[in-house]
Each structure stands twice: as C-alpha cells, then as structure tokens.
Symmetry: C2
Subunit: 394 residues, 2 copies
C-alpha cells in the first residue's frame, strides 16, 4: 500500500465527519479514485461494478466486487479479509442480474437497508441502472446525493501525497521532453505517443511510473483548434505546431503538464499568442497563496489576456490528484468565474489556460501546490513555445 494504515483511518474519520454533517449513515462509493483513497484498492476492475461501503458505526469499510477481483482487494487494501465480499461472476454484464441487487441484499443482511444512504450520483461508474436497481432493492432507504463528498476531502494533500505528486511532476517533465525531442518532420504521431508512454511508465531509476488517467493528448496542425484529440499515424510536416498535454503518474497521483512545440519558425500570430498566454499564466501563478479565492485567479487571467484583445470562455484549471480513467481531475474546485473555493496550503491544481483557437492553438500549463505564502510548481520546464529548427531544439 502507498500509505500506512493510520493515514487511511484518518481519511475514513474525515469521511464519517462529512457523512454526519450531511445526515448520511451509509455511504456507497463507486468512484475508483475515492475507493483507492480510502482503501488503497488498485486494479483495472472498474469496468465491472464494485463498491466501497462506509458505515457510520463500523471501523472498516466493506469492499464489494467481482469474485475474480477479491484477491486483488486482499493484496492492495488495508481491510480485514472478512470485509472483502465477492459477488458471483454471473452478475457480470448480465441482462437479467445486476451487481446492485447483490449489494442491496448485503445491506439488508447487515441491517443497513432502512438508513440514509449516500450515493455518488455523478460518478462515472454509478450508472443510471445502478441507481434504479438500488432503489428497487432498498425500498425503505432514503437516498442522498453524495457525489463529491470524498472528493472534497481529497482536495488538501498530506505531505506524503505532495511527495508523490513531485515524483509525478518529474515524470511529466521527462515525458514532455521525450516527446519534443522526437517530434520532427516525417515522424509519425503514434511514434511520439509511444515514446511518451514509455517515459511516463518507466519513470526514473528510483521510482516506476503508473498509467495516467488520460492518454497523451497530441493535437497537431489544424487539430490544435481542439484539445482532446489523441494521435493518428500521420507524419508531422514542417510548420506544424503540436500541443502536448499529459501527466506523470506515481501511485495514482497525477501531475499534468502541457507544452507546445513548433516545427520551424512559428508564424507571427502563434508567437504572440504564446507570449500572451505565458504572461497570463505567470500573472496567475504570482497571485496564488492561501486565502485567495479561485475566481480571483480566473479574473487575473481574463484581465491579462484582455489587454491583448483576447478572451476565453472555458475554465482554466481544476484540482488534481488521485485519478483513474477517464479523468485525473478531482471534480471539485475549478478555476473559473463563480468558484468561491478559498486556497489553502497543500491544495493542488492543474492550471491550464489553453488557447485552442481555429488555425493556431497554443497551450501551456503548470501543476502546483499552494504553499504557506505562494505556490510551488511540480515542473521545471520553460513555459514558452518550443521551436525546433533543422533537427535541433531552440
């Protein structure tokens, strides 16, 4: 396990405090990041239904999952083996049986079926069908939306979590540079993606890398008008600009990072866009410290780019940490207008003021932690547009 049992118990304690405050007696956790955060559970089994059940007056949560994965839960969690409850394989992707029927039965058996039950209504892996089956199976329960209850606990990191994110930050730097170093005329996008993945996953001599929750995003040329394209087997051409967005990941903790590289002399517009974006990013980082409200950071950005006549509708960042596919974001605070989250030490964010505009896109980002009096980024790469001339990097 990445953390000692005491750390997990502390997290459970905080979860129960929030449950009490929200009038929740039983919390059903299906978000794999939250399952990992509270139990240590780690496996690529979230494609079938699984759950961690936190009960207000029980010391340990229950893990319920597919029979095949129960040994994985024994290996990766701090839970007593009797708290690991496998469901028979016949419940898997069946048209007649549903794992939530099994879970409803368990809750009945342990007398927790008439309680106030929190469910993560907006978790990726809590489908509409899951909720329907639970409601059918537990007619006496009162359900409450607890979508981000655990997520909000995750927003402030322990020192050990910060250490993990710093390691992830090193992975991100080396992965971005491995991509930029390989990118050249006639090189295929897929070969750059392969190189980046190799770098992300092999990590360093000291620490091995984990798979990131999002695959490398590598839009190039006219595709830089949109951020979330991955790669093809097309070859780069002279003049192309390429946006690299990826994360280092260590023991499920992410440090995302974006940089942009141009093959050959960049056009004037792209150069200006890069300068404006980097300046806006720098101004944002400069104001970050405990007590600042997130929307003030968004405001700083808007004012900075407005000086050059630019505007941007989308949010410029979000809290980050533990993640499983499809997202490394924590789904709590966003850096945007209207978000009144107050910064505290050891909150961690990915600040990504990307300008994915028609014709020429530019993105640069930093992942950082809030310190006692400012912020500390996890990357040490230069922020400006990278330019490759001939076969050299400028």
């Amino acid at each position: 396990m990445p953390f000692g049992t005491a750390e997990y118990q502390k997290r459970i304690r905080k979860t129960k405090e929030r449950m009490a405050a929200q009038g929740i007696e039983v919390l059903l956790i299906t978000n794999p990041s939250n399952m990992n955060y509270l139990s240590g559970y780690d496996g690529w089994s979230f494609y079938v239904h699984q759950m961690l059940i936190v009960i207000d007056d029980e010391d340990q949560p229950l893990w319920v999952g597919r029979m095949l994965d129960a040994n994985g839960a024994k290996i990766t969690t701090w839970l007593y083996h009797e708290n690991i409850i496998p469901y028979p394989d016949i419940y898997v992707q069946s048209e007649t049986l549903h794992p939530m029927d099994f879970i409803a039965d368990i809750l009945k058996q342990i007398g927790q079926d008439k309680q106030s039950i929190g469910v993560e209504m907006e978790s990726y892996y809590f489908s509409a069908k899951c909720f329907e089956q639970l409601k059918k199976g537990l007619p006496d329960a009162r359900f409450k939306d607890a979508s981000d209850l655990v997520n909000w606990i995750r927003i402030v990191k322990s020192d050990q979590e910060i250490e993990f994110m710093k390691i992830a930050g090193k992975f991100a730097d080396q992965a971005v540079m491995s991509g930029i170093n390989l990118i050249d005329e006639n090189v295929r996008e897929c070969d750059v993606a392969a190189k980046i993945l190799h770098s992300q996953v092999s990590g360093t001599e000291e620490h091995g890398g984990d798979y990131p929750a999002i695959m490398p995003l590598l839009p190039s040329g006219k595709k830089t008008s949109t951020p979330h394209l991955t790669w093809t087997d097309d070859r780069y051409k002279s003049g192309d600009s390429i946006i690299l967005e990826l994360a280092g990941c260590y023991r499920r903790y992410h440090a995302p990072l974006a940089r942009t590289v141009n093959l050959g002399r960049p056009e004037k517009f792209l150069k200006e866009l890069a300068d404006i974006t980097v300046e806006g990013l720098n101004e944002c980082l400069a104001i970050i410290k405990p007590g600042v409200v997130l929307e003030e950071v968004a405001q700083t950005w808007s004012e900075s780019i407005a000086k050059s006549g630019f505007s941007k509708e989308s949010r410029i960042g979000y809290s980050v940490g533990v993640g499983y596919p499809p997202d490394w974001g924590e789904h709590t605070a966003s850096i945007r207008k209207g978000d009144r989250t107050v910064l505290q030490p050891n909150m961690t964010f990915h600040l990504i003021p990307g300008m994915w505009s028609e014709g020429s896109g530019f993105a640069v980002s930093e992942s950082f932690r809030v310190t006692e009096d400012g912020c500390e980024t996890f990357s040490s790469l230069p922020r400006g547009l990278f330019v490759k001339e001939g076969s050299g990097l400028e």
Copy 2:
C-alpha cells in the same frame, strides 16, 4: 474517418430498425464506443458529458458535447457542421448546472420532448444524475432502456472491421513478445509495461497503434491469483510466473491476447495447469462455427477441464471490437452457461479461459472471428507456457 460515409449510414439504418422494433423514436447515445461506431467521433472527451442523438425521421444524428470538443467533432465525424451542437463550458463539472439540462432544452426546441426516448441506462458515462436531470427536464417523455441497442449491432463485423482487427492482432502479438523478451530476473514490472505500451502504440511500419481501452495487465508471482492488477516498480524474481493480458488496438478496434511466462523451470502444478488450460482452449476453438450456441462453447470448456478435476465459475469470453476505457468488451454476448447467442460469420470474441488460482495462475487467450465453417484467430503465437531459462526463451 476510418470508414466511408456509406458504412456509417448503413449503421444508422440498422440502428433505426432496432429503434422501430423497440418502439423508440429518439435514441440518446452516451457510450463512446457507440458514438464512435455511428459517427466516427474520436477524442478523449468522454470524461465530460457528450451525446449522439439519433432521431427516427432525421437523416443524420446530432452530436452534443463540450464547446472545446466541437472542433474535434468537426474533424473526426461525417456529420454536417450544423448537426454539431456545443454546450457552454459553464456546464462542465458544475454543482449547479448539468449538461443534461442543456440537452433537454435542445430536445424541446426541436420538438422531440414528448417522444419515446431510449437511454443507455447501463453505459459507463450515463450517470444516475444524468437520468435524473433528463427526467426533470423532459417530464412528457417516455424513457426506455436501450443500453445495448447499438452494441448488438456491433457484434457482427464488416470485412473492413475484420481487417482492422487483424492489424490489431499483429500489434498484440508483437506487444506480448516485447514483454516476454524483456521479462527477466531483476527487471522492473514498470519497465516491461513501458516496453509493451511502446510496442502497442508505435504499431508496425505500415500502421500506427491506438491506445488500448485497458492498460496492460501484468500480475506476477502471488498476484497471479487475480487478473486485473496492472504493475508496480517491483523487480521480478527467479521462479516468478507472469501473466500478460493486453490488446492491440487499431483505430479503436481491439484484439486482446493473454500469455503466461515463467522465469526458470516451472513447478509441476503450473505446468499441468498450463497443459489443461491450453487443451481446453483448443477444444473450444475446434467446435466454433456458425450455428453453434455460445453456452455450448462454455460447456466444452467445463467438460474438458473437469477431466482433470478442475472447474471455473467465471465466464470464459465475450464479444470484442470497438472500445474506449474502461473496457474493450462489447457488453453483449458472453461465453458462459445460459448465453444462447448463436454464432454467425464475422462475429468476434475474446476467448480467455484464465485460471487465476491461489499460488499459481495461468492464462492464455485467443481473439478470433467466426468464419463460414470454423474460426480464425488474430494471433499466431504458441499457446503454451513460455519458459525463460537463463536469459533465453525456450
């Protein structure tokens, strides 16, 4: 786009036929594999809500997604640009607004709010909250569960899809061998995973690889008692056995493959387990042809291993094809008792009779298509236990 417009139109036609048969006038598709299958849409944007809307009397579906991803939809789909409808960024991961509110408004505007509306209740990305918001926003609609409506169309492949899966099969073979070749005493698990990913994604000279919907699964040593652990930075030890399960992926089409390797002379039990499993797999492949019912394949497996006193509860395979994280399975037919699906030419499956038992696990698998009179596997690797002695491969 991977296919011509005619192929997509044919898929839409089949979808409408099924809609009509099920009394569905408007189909809301949130499963990214189904979105890709019908529209070509391909981007790592399924971490925010997005949807393809198929309306019975409209030629083209509507794509609705995040503003930032609209250009991605223009680039990767065959849809008219006016059918690509972006929602404002303020709907993203907000505690007060939900993208389904936006979608409900669109359906009202186009007069489709009083219809019989199919929703994919069991899609990963159709959360319980999505359904609640839709029901609130569309009080006059009649909702029907259409979870696997499009999935069932996907089960029989066109010849071009089969070509893609054959390419993916080559990627899988080379990726498994790249892992087995690197695995050795003192080598870190993460370095093997990195090598495998590099091989999967770079592909061949002719064709570039895509990211697989599941990361390489690499349980080793006592972790072979469970199938879905990924990797750590532990080093392999003499005597370890390692199960490799991974897929080649070409243009989102998958060919999964599993093999097992032992570092040094295998113990007697593992050798026997391997022989029994391979024999069972071979017997299953031998009976496959059009007209056979899937549960007969499961029965053949059970009888084959029963001769040696073994049994296995979990399913031994499933249909496979287009996939996005977290799964490459199609969620339709499973090779298990009770599944009455009748085999047809160009159905494709991953047959994985893994024996993840305490102490010593062994897995071997084949992805195949059903032919006119039998089956054709996408891999050409030997099926038995691989043994590495010294630094050589036996």
